[in-house]
Every structure is written in C-alpha cells, then in structure tokens.
Symmetry: D3
Subunit: 277 residues, 6 copies
C-alpha cells in the first residue's frame, strides 16, 4: 500500500481500459509467449508511482515479475531504466497503458514540484500544494508532491482553518472571523488568514492568526509585509505562482509558497515501456 | 447523467475534501446565512463540466439553486458568467473547490482540444484523443474532448485493433500480425497499423489494414506517404504532436491527428467562484 | 485477472451468500477438517470461468489449493474432471455455490455459443454476441462468448455507430442518418445500418455504411440481398436467431450472425463439485 | 427502492454501456429533439422490474417522464403496453438497452416462476427458488421469483441449516450432523436434511429435522416417503425439476418444490421499446 | 476471508486514517527501520478479529510478518500476548490504529457476549444478538457474537418472520397476522410473535407461531408463561436485558434471551500494541 | 449531505438488512396501507443523525414524508418527539431499524460527549475525540462529537504531527523527534508530543512542540506541569479519562482533554419509532 485505497483505483482503471479483452494482443500474440520490457525515461525527472506500476501488473497477472531500478523520490535522467518487468507478453501489453497513466502523471507532479523546490533553493521558502487536485486522486497527488520535495498543505476542509476573502465577505471583518474560528477550534488547529495588504496582515496577527496568506501580492509589497512580520508569524505566498515568478517570491523571505499548478495543470513526464523481447 | 457513474465520483471527491466538516465555514458563518455566487471565467476557453458543477452543489445541499449561463461545448471569454449558484453560504463554500476541480480540468481539456481544432482549420484533419487519460476518469475526459470539438479515438483495448511496434516485435511482421487479427475480428472491428515509413505502409495496406498510423514521422516523409496513399486508406498522424507542429502535420493531408497531450498533460482553465453576497 | 474488476464481483457474490457465516458447515464440520473435491462435468460443454472459480476459493481461504484439469475455451464431455480443489472442508463448502454460479453460467454461454458456431460450420458466417448482457457482467459474458468461439460485437454505445429503426424514425432517412454519423466519426468508427429490404440496403451502401444489418428478414429475401451485395459490404443477420434457424441463415452467405440469446437467455451447464474426502 | 442497492447496479450497468457517449444517437439526433416510446410486450408473461426501468431513465436524465401501465407481479399478454416513457430522444435511446436488460431478465424469471406455479395448481406444493443466482444479483432475482408467485428459499448460508450429501460425507451420519447443528442453532433456525430414501428420512425425522429434502428421487419413491411422513414433517422435492416433471412431483403431495432453473437458466421475456415519435 | 467483503472495509478504514501519509512516522523514523511489536491485553476478555488485524498489516505492507498467539473465540487474561507483528516500523505504526479499532471493538462484543453467556450458565437459555448492529458492519459484529459464545438471531428482514407490536397494530390481531404470514412463508421460515402476556401467548400458539417473544415482561409474569408453555413452543425473552437481570430471566426457563446491548452499545476491550524494538 | 458519502453507507446498511424483502411486513400489511409514526425519546440526550434518519426513509421510498421536531445538536428529554414520518406502512417498517441504528448510535456519541462537556463546565478544558472510531464511520462519529459540544482532534495521520511513546522509542529522544518532524512540516502543521513527566515536558517545549500531551498522568502531577507551563504551551490530558475523573483533570487547568471513550465504546441512546396509525 503506497497509498490507501490504491487497489480500487487500479481495478477501476483496468476495467475502463479492458472491458472486453485486448483484442489486438490476444489475437496476435500466443498466450504463452513470454516477454521482457523496461520502463525507460525519455526525459529527466523525479520518480513517483513506481510501486503503483508494479501493482498494476500484479493485478493483471500475479505471475508477472517486476524489478525496480529507482525508488520513488529519486531523480532520473533521460535514458535511465526505471524498472524492468517480465512475464506473459499479453499481460505486459494489457498493463502497459494503465501503468504508464499512473506513472507519467505522478512523476509529472513530482518533477514539476522538484523544479519549484529547485527554484527556491537558497531561500527559506517551502513549496506547498493546494486542494486543487483531481477528483478522487487527492491522496495520490499529494504523495507525488512529497516525492518531489514539496510539502502538503492541508488535506481537506476538516483539518485547518483557512479564512479566505469569501469568508471575510460573509463574516464582516478579519477580527470577527478569527475570533469565531478560535472559539471553535481553540489552539487545536492552525488558523490561517488570507490578506492582501499590510493593514489586513496586522489585523490578522492581532486577532491571533497562526499563519498569514499573502494572496496575489506583488513581490515588492510582499517584501514590506515580510519586513513588518519579522518572523512573528509564518507567511505563505499564494496565487498565480509560476516557475518564472517563484524565485522572486521566495527571495522576499516568505516561509511558504503554495502552488496550485503542481496538481491543477498536470504535466506528464515522458516515460515509455520498451519491449526487449 | 452527463456521464455514467458521475455520482460516485462526486461522492468520492466530496468525501476526500470534507471528511469531518468544513471547520472554517462552519465556525465563521451562521448556518442559515444565504449567499449568491457566480462562476466567472478569468480567461477565455471552451466549457465542459457545467452540469457536473451543478450536481456537486445538489449533492452537498439539495436546496441549492443553480442556473447555467453557458452550456457545455460553448466558447466563453474572460469575464463571462458561466453559471450562478444560490443557497446556504456554507453549502456554497463546501461545494466550491470540488465543483471547480471538475470544471477547471474538463474545461481545460475542452479548451486545449479547441485550440488544436482551430489550428487545423482549413485542412481535412480531425483531432483525436488517446487512451492517455487519468485513471478512473476516462469517460469524463473523453466527454471533454468532444465538447472541445475533438473526436474520440478508441475507448479501450476492446473496441479496435491497433497494432503497434511492440506487437510487431512479438508477431514478426506486419502481414502476419494483420492476418492474425483479421482472422479474429473479421470486418467487425477496424484494424489500424502503426508504421514508420512507406515500405511498412505498403505492407499494411496490402495486408488489409483499415487505417494506418504514422508514428513520429517528420512532416516531409509524412507528405510522401499521404501522396502514395491517395485516399485509399485513412492516415493518422501520432506521436509528440504539439500546438506548434499540428498545423504543419495537418497540411500534409493526413485524415486524423491523435494528441496525447489533450488529456495526459492537464491544463486547467482559470475559473473562479465569486461571491456576490 | 481473467477479467478487470472480477475481484469486486467475487467479493459482492460472497457477501450476499455468506453475510453471517455458513451455519451448516461451521456447526457440523471441525474447523481443521481437510477435504478434497473435484469439479465434475455432468454434461458436455465448453469451459469458461475456471480461473474465476479458483479465485473464489482463494478469496474464501488463501490456503486452498486449486489445480485445473481444463483451460477455458476447451471442450469437455460428461464425466470430465474440470479441476480439483483441496483445503479446509469448511472453506470448500463456503466457496462451492459462488464458484459454481460463475462457472455454470459462463460455461453455459460458452457452450451455447459453441453450438451456434458448430451449426454454421462450413459457411463463412461468424457468430456475434449483442449488448443484451446481464447488468454489471458484460465483460464476463463477452469473455465467455469468446471462449465458445464466438466474436464480440461492439462493447458499448461508445465504440461503433449502429443505426437502428428508432434512429431512422427520428432522423428521417438512411442517407441523412449516415451522413450525420459520418460527419461525426469520419472513418474512425464503423457505421452499421439496420435495413429490412434491398432498397434500404442500397441506400445504406450508397450512403457509405461499413456494414449492413439485416433485421428479421426471411432467409429467402436475405439471400437476395447477399446476391446483390456480392461482398461489397459485410452483412450481419440479426433478430430472433435460434439454433434451428442459424444454419439456414448462414447458408444465405451473410458474414455475421448476431445472437441475443447467447447472453440474454442464460443456459447454465450442469457442473457439480463432488467431495472425495 | 424496489431493491436495496439498486442504484449502484444501475450506475454500473450504464457505465459499462456508455463509457464515452452514445456515438450513434448523439451524432444523428438533435440534442433537444423530444420523443415518446412504449414498452411493448412481444409475448405474454409476468412483469418484474418496471420500477427499475423507470429508475434507469431517471438516472440517465431526471427530466424523463415515465408512466407505468402495469405493476410488478401482474400478468400481461402479447401487445400490452407495459409503460410509456417521454423525454429527450437521445436520453430514451441511451437508457433503452439497460432498462430492457433488467426488465426482460427479471420478467423472464417471474414468468418462468409463474409457469411452475401454474403447473402445480390444485396441489399443495409451493415453488421455491435456490441459491443458484447470478453473482451480485441475488436480491433482484429473488424479488422476481416473488413477483412470479414463487417463494424464496433461504437467502444465504447464514439463515438456515441445510445438511446436504457433502456435509453427511464429512460428518459421518445424519443423526450426528443434525445433533451438531441443533446444538448450535437450537430451535432458532430451521434444520433441513437432504435424503435419498425413506430410511434416511426416518433417521432425519428422528434426529429432529424441521424439513426433509428429497433430492433427485423418482416420483414413485417420493410418493412412498410422502405417505410415510403423513404431514409430520414438511417435505421439499429438489433436483432436476423441469416444467414437464413438476406437476407429477407436486401430485406426490410434497410441500415444496425447489427449482434451480428459475434463476440459473435465464429466460428473457421479449419486451421491446417502441418509439412512437 | 474471515468475513465476506472485509477487504473493502479495511481499505476504507485505512483511507480515512491515512489520506495523505503518516506525517509523524514518515518524518521521524527511517523508512528502512525495522521493528517488532506485540498486541498486549490490558484486561481480560474473549478474542475476536485477530485475522482482521493481520489483514490490516498485510494491506499496509505485504512484507509484514504476523504471528498469532491466540485464535478468535479464545479467552485471554490481562497481560497475554495476543499476537506479534514484525516489519518496517513505519508500516506497523500506520496499521496500528486501524487494526486496534477492529480488534478492540470486536473483542469487546465477544467479551460482553461471553459475560452474558457466563451469567446464564446452568440454565438452558441461549444468548442471542439482534439487528441493532452498526450500519455496514453487521457481518463482522454477528461474527464477534458467535466468537463470544452467543448465537445469531435472524440476519435480516428477509429470513424470519418476526411479528412485533407495530405489525399487530396494523394487522388487527395476532391470529390474523400469523395466518397472513403463514400463507406467505408456509413452513419455510420460522414465525415468531412478540407478546406481552399469557393471553396473547395462547393466541400466538394457537395461530401456529414457531417461537414466542416475551417483550419487556417482568420475571414473575414471564415464569407463568414458561409454566404454561411447558416446552410446546420456544420462548425468547427480549427488551432491556442487562447483565444484572439476565440471570433472573434465564432462571424463568426461557429458551432464548436476545440482548440488543451486545452490539448497540459497543464496549471496546483494552488491547494495546506495544513496541519491543 | 449531512456527511460526504452518507448515501453509500445508507445503501450498504439497507442492503444488509433487506437482502430479499421484509417477509414479515410484506405478508401482513397491505402494500397501500398508509401509516404515521414518531421518533420518541425514551431517555434524555443530545440529538445527532436526524437528517440521516430522514435520508434512510427517502431511500427506502421517496414518497415518505419526514418532519423534524428537533435539529442535530439540540438537547431533548424523555418523551420528546424528535421527528414524525408518514408514508406507506411497509416503507416505514423497512426503514425503521436502519434509521434507528444510525440515530441511536450517533445520538449516543453526542450525548456522551455532552456529559463530558457538562462535567468540565467552569474550567477552560475542551473535550476532544480521538482516532478510536468505528472503521468506515469516522466522519459520522466526529460529526456526532461536534453535535455534543466536543471538538475534533486530528482527522487522520495526515494532518497533525503527534509524537507518541512508540515514536520516541524508535527515534531516540524527544528533541531529535521534534527536530525531524519540524524539518519536515515546518510551521505548517502542529506538532504535539506525548510526555509523562515535567522533565519530558520541558524538553518538548524547548524542542518547539506546539502542544504537549500528558498521557495517563495522575492529577497531582498534572497540576505541577500546568503550573510549570503557565500557558506557554497548550496541554492536552489523555488516557483512560472517564466521566468520574474528567472533572478533576479539568480543574488542573489543562486546555484539552481527549476521550477515546466518546467513540470507542458506543453508548446508544434509547429512541424508538412509535406507530400512531
């Protein structure tokens, strides 16, 4: 179990890919024909999902053998052999697409995350994911973010208070919103407040926010808030962060940068299954 | 039912997002406080998933009202109001992220597809998707491709013969592979053969292939194959197609261009839920 | 994985059969009592589902041993031992009914299919199944048809255009319907048109149909259409086909005969589990 | 809820039938085109599943209207209109096959059951089903048996003791087996014992069996056991019962006749969906 | 398979406990660090669920080793080692809570049942459970009752007629209700009738009830009904039974005592997982 | 949606309770007989699950009418009418047990929680739940705790660092463990450390713990730690807390008291469904 519930996801994926047999492989290739294939990286990246790929083949055919060349979280370069799989040729062909669909996406997330982590090296900023995940795959995608060196923001609406503009609109003021939330969660859960300027940040800190989110603020203004905060409260930059802007944002001195794009705009890594025999 | 089984996907998505209540909204906003919000396009695109967004809110709270401004498949521009939703403020906030996670992704696929379709306008080439879909979401993603003006390639391994290089490696020759497949599927299913040059294309046609896939072939060589084919067999270009290259490929005269990137590299469209009260 | 998703089906079947223990076996037979039993054919047939039977016992009790005497797709005669299973007696008794419920039904489909295939021997007609399958079991049933020597018609509404009388009623004419469908699917998917006479058949061919379905047409009139077609387009006979009529239909020279009865009127094969000790 | 869990079955059935849209109907018929169709009986029978058919269309499209002409359990004759459904033509075509797959099968079971019930009219014998049901559909099929006038035998291995030959083989003797079972279930659950002659029947009665099952016994010998029993214990005839033999068996005076064929050999009733506009 | 469908329950439990990794263990403990731990009884009880605990760890990490010290159904005392588990420390920590949540609850039910069984020792009364089980866990909980020496009452509404006060209110009289039920189920299913005094009991017996339930009747009056019944019909005491009252109830001579509290008021047994290294 | 995914839980519960019809109600009560019933409190308590009860009846029969007398979270006293339900008598009887099984348990948790909250009134201590929840029902049970006035501790292993004795055993020291965890989660997640004396508490605070858990510490020693802490760090008392001890613990001045018993030892509230007609 790399991930709780992964078996059901794999079963669903195989069912949608092979509802009534693989009519190509089954008609062309003898049932007992054995084969050997390798997962080959066609570009550099960070690996995530290799155990899931293994589980896909085991589900298709328990007699399949799978040997990992890399573990999740490891960087690979173009041409690296990530794993080798041996077994009935028809079984390998049946599992190929589903295994790759998991592996390419998750490695894509890990690789993208790795690039952001790289881009902020030398600063204290940590890269966070968001709740902008694919419906039903949140656990998997947050796992991939961790493999890429990122950290997971809150898992769900149930485990952190995050007061956003919409809440403020409905609550009236930051002070009131924080007070209401604190009354409910005490010091059990972190309370984070989204602000857009230093006045709001001050109000949030005064109200007792544990973290302050700087939403879509230009780097210059962000720097001023960092200076004002002087480490009294962690700051998270958020909103429209890209690989181009993340470095500049990090150098303002914020503690965290959350990047929706880690998971909301998938970026598959090119990995292929090459048949050797 | 825009899509068979969508209810279960929505339930799973809500469950992972709200395992133990929305501790922010529930503590700050009175349970009976009503609200009104609009789905606002922050960039232009093609819509897909608006009925799913509606169903998300209905699942969270049947008393929610949802009015569509656009139907799936329609183009929208920045600033367009795609839908309006009214109901208990807490319910709107609970459904917000899940609804957006569906809507942004599917519209992202539809929008990307629309760009490819646009890029080949004036040629006879049709844009196809692939089986490189997110595990468990194939139906949804293929629906989004159709909304974007693309066409669906085969749904699964069970409904078309597609003989690829790995099959050829194992079968020995194109002629042999096609003969075996034809013996099995007769003229019930299409047989498509992946080739990399005109010699293989000739062998495939002679063997009785219904469609020929040109895999990763430079445009110039592709043009030669198109000239040779003279419409006797449909040709599908495949492999590493991008928005930059798709026009040139289309102008070679191929009939179909399949683009893995429509679904393997998600590209969310920026849509937000703006609270008006 | 004989079939994607089979594990979930087996779990559901066992759950409905043993919600709170096997009160007979558990009270009468010592928990450690070992036993040996064989699957015995009580009549001749074609096997389908033997790996599923194995998986049922493995699910009930991983310590069970299962040895196949026949593989799926093989013909067996009355008295043949299809498999042997050894393990805890209570485990064998718990798995017995569920294993047989799969095995008898699937072998029933394979055997019936085999009879149709036999009945058209010497003609060029291939026997096809339909979408008239048991809800939730389509993959399994189509697998059984293949084991019986039949071929699978389309898997679902998503992978072939099949224009039936109801579509024509709504579309106006065959030509119009085919044109609309062709505009949508191009040459990606086969278009089949259901006709009832030669005039319609001509219109369908002219419109570009890939296959023509002859629905409920008397053999004599069918023969005329075959003569007219002269192989220019594959012909599929359909509608009320029985073992009595299938031979005559095949001898008209049609290419395919689809038989709803393969799956819509189950015909279990008599197989029993005989305990040897 | 005709049946607990029916929604999930319908969702699974629709998902396997429409994984990526109905490419025929969607390309030929305008999305807003409305239609009206009736479920027409093509042969006489007993209805079962009409509420499920309704639910199928509601799942496909909540805007569909469905009006029943008959209720489940009612006999219908050829030409009867069982229900009428109105709505978007594309929605009706999408739900058609799945609705019929449920309705034809369940009505087939109800109709077959009705024939057995008819064949034993005038005797005291009641027709029972068995556990030979389709994996995953036991609730549905037992419901159909009730609609046909039959009675349900035990639901599962958990709610009645039924000592069969295999248990006796493992337990040693009828007396010992019944004593063990009685010690466990006391008088909470019925204990039924399968016998093949009057000697065994006597032993079973002496041991305290609540019901005696006469397994595959010729009618003449069965009559003798009935005479011996004189109502002291209910008798159930079982094994290879057919419509031809059931009357003779019933006239021996047995109380129950269990018929595996009610559910193990499906017999769909011919019902079609006729489009009126 | 201790219990049909248990795998799905375990997967769901792990998914809700570890949606995005164990952030404590994974950050503190090296991935390859091995460990050994024992399930230690912190109080005496009766074991139930030890195979489920094993399966939890196998699901988390197939490389885990699990050795049972006790089998389900066995009594243990404070300090007993119920099982030992070895494997990666992180895997043990991930499975710990879920394994305990199953084991403590099920052993709690078995232990409570064992106390009731103990309290009626020397009488003929058997302890029964009820349908007051946790939604979705009925199979598991009824299994635990059996492990504690209790017997299972009916599994569901489908396998025994139990006429309660609400049915009588709606049916008019006991005689009428029993006659209707008998007409339907014949002698296939037991008919039990709930009564509150000897007059009703007489009517129920005369009407042909198989068992009579004495609902919330004081011990003295219950004794009178037992005397009247003289074994002609089994009697079940029910309603508000506690460990304090069960002995007195049993000594009235009733055959069965059903105790909702076995499952409706969970009583976890204190078992902990102690890490030895 | 009181709770995400509740529909699936209700479907599963109904399926296990009514696999093949309610043979009592269906045989005794005319299908069209209408009825009215009220949920009556047989003892005082705090309500939780009333919307789930409503949904159970709606699932059984959409035509049922349900009117709430109380909302979740409200206190009720013996004799209060919590809700009224009207509809077909058979439908009410089918839903009765499942509705009560949810309602009694959840209200039991809410009521127990309410008692703990009451017992600490006048102190600053907040009552928390734990992860000792019923497998698969965590969301529901945590909801019930909130209804009772308690607060939810962490939802899962993924949303808070909680360093327990087992982690310390494996990590070596508190300082090392906290440092490792902090390195991973930064200030994104709370870090809580379990200690058993003031020396450990000091080390934890020095290491940067956000909260300190006092595990199974006598009240006197706990008081000393509270005095030492002087509010610098929130303190949570944990381990073997009962209604008898919770007040004394609260008066030591701790901030939180977590009580496994809220959910690990179910305590159903006595609520019945009384039929009025």
């Amino acid at each position: 179990m790399a991930i709780a519930g992964i078996e059901a996801l794999i079963a669903a994926a195989l069912k949608e890919d092979i509802p009534a047999g693989d009519i190509t492989s089954e008609s062309i290739i003898p049932a007992r024909s054995m084969s050997r294939a390798v997962f080959m990286a066609k570009e550099a990246g960070v690996l995530a999902g290799i155990d899931i790929a293994r589980l896909v083949f085991k589900t298709v055919d328990p007699a399949t053998r799978f040997e990992k060349g890399f573990e999740d979280g490891r960087r690979f370069k173009k041409g690296d052999v990530l794993a080798e799989v041996r077994g009935r040729a028809v079984s390998l062909l049946k599992g190929e697409r589903t295994a790759l669909n998991f592996l390419q996406r998750l490695s894509g997330i890990a690789t993208t995350t790795g690039k952001y982590v790289q881009a902020v090296r030398g600063t204290k900023a940590k890269i966070l994911d968001t709740r902008k995940t694919t419906p039903g795959l949140r656990s998997l995608e947050k796992y991939a973010v961790r493999m890429g060196g990122g950290q997971n923001h809150r898992v769900s609406l149930s485990d952190m208070v995050l007061i956003k503009d919409n809440h403020l609109l409905l609550a009236g003021s930051i002070s009131k919103a924080v007070a209401l939330a604190r009354g409910r969660v005490q010091r059990r859960f972190k309370i984070e407040v989204e602000v857009t300027n230093v006045v709001q940040a001050k109000e949030a800190l005064a109200a007792g926010a544990d973290t302050i989110m700087l939403d879509n603020i230009p780097a210059l203004r962000m720097k001023k808030i960092v200076d004002w905060a002087r480490g009294r409260v962690p700051l998270e930059a958020s909103g429209g962060v890209t690989l181009k802007t993340v470095g500049r944002i990090a150098r303002t001195g914020v503690d965290f940068i959350s990047v929706g794009g880690l998971t909301h705009s998938y970026n598959s890594v090119d990995i292929s299954l090459e048949f050797l025999s």
